[in-house]
Symmetry: C2
Subunit: 194 residues, 2 copies
Amino acid sequence: MVRAAARLFAERGYHGTSMRDLGDTLGLVGSSLYAHIGSKNELLEEIVSNGVQLCLDLAERVLSSGEGPLEKLRALIVGHAGLVGVNIESWAAFAIEYRFLPDEQRERVVQLRDRYQAAYRTVLKDGVADGTFREDLDDHLVATTLLSLLNAMSGWYRPDGELSAEELGERIFDVISRGIGPDERGAISSETVT
Amino acid sequence: MVRAAARLFAERGYHGTSMRDLGDTLGLVGSSLYAHIGSKNELLEEIVSNGVQLCLDLAERVLSSGEGPLEKLRALIVGHAGLVGVNIESWAAFAIEYRFLPDEQRERVVQLRDRYQAAYRTVLKDGVADGTFREDLDDHLVATTLLSLLNAMSGWYRPDGELSAEELGERIFDVISRGIGPDERGAISSETVT
DNA sequence: CCTACCGATCGGTAGG
DNA sequence: CCTACCGATCGGTAGG
């Protein structure tokens, strides 16, 4: 039921989906849904909480992996792409419709999302410090942009395409890692890790 | 009035904005709006048509500039970033809420958006052909990703920040152009060539 | 541009 | 899980 809600919210938007719509797709009448949930908002909250939790789990796994910044960045990007792929039908609802949560819940989610983004920034900053990434890297800009781009996969990724979500993540990582790599004219090439 | 609608649609979503809401921000009663427009949908259509037209104008200007692929890509990216910056309050409505247009209008917009994306792909392919960009570049993936990322600026760009939208575009171009540049020099993970 | 109002639909509840 | 229903609100119209 939460999954059906996610699919509808993603497709028609939270405000564009009625409880009767949701009932229809589940083969029952709208008001019957209230035997299982307390409110429409509760559905959105569960979708969003679930998505942000998946992100935080990924970040924790990657940060504690002991790998270098480059491998950590790869794991974050490919991991995130994989999350989008596995949850393709609900990810758009999570990434776009979260803003319709009531203030308190939305602020909590924004806080958790910022914490997730902080993991990216940490990896980027570590990579600048050890020469893996270019010195003039703007970790805030790169992290924000990267997450936008990865979440936007929910709008165009098709599971039946020729590339899996993880493969797409690898390609994205490939472009980004080269784009933010150390300046080749610099003297730091010896510290570059692959 | 269209601008006020765009601001509200961006903030609360198309379905989350009532004509009474819109009237409130304009200092009049909801039903009075119908002296100026035919329907709520008409407002969305104007917002979206305007946005897509700005994009197509940019593409045409760039494609006919006579510059090389690298300069054209820069002009597209910086130009698009500039469009988001100038229309910051309505861009999210254009980029996100267009999907709530009725079928016919939405398909027309999608077609125009595809044409705009085709301009990016053309520039990318030209750049691959003349060696400006790496040979294994996936023009479809790069174009889609690039446009997602640029449109997502509408969600976080603040005109009162330290960087202008164009400057942000330059930085994005800097990372991307290096990421998709030719392979010969010491990029990080450059073992793989087709 | 407002008042008054329309039928439709909304999220949700009561009672079984 | 359904029927019957609630008050609120929706996009939009008539008439001035």
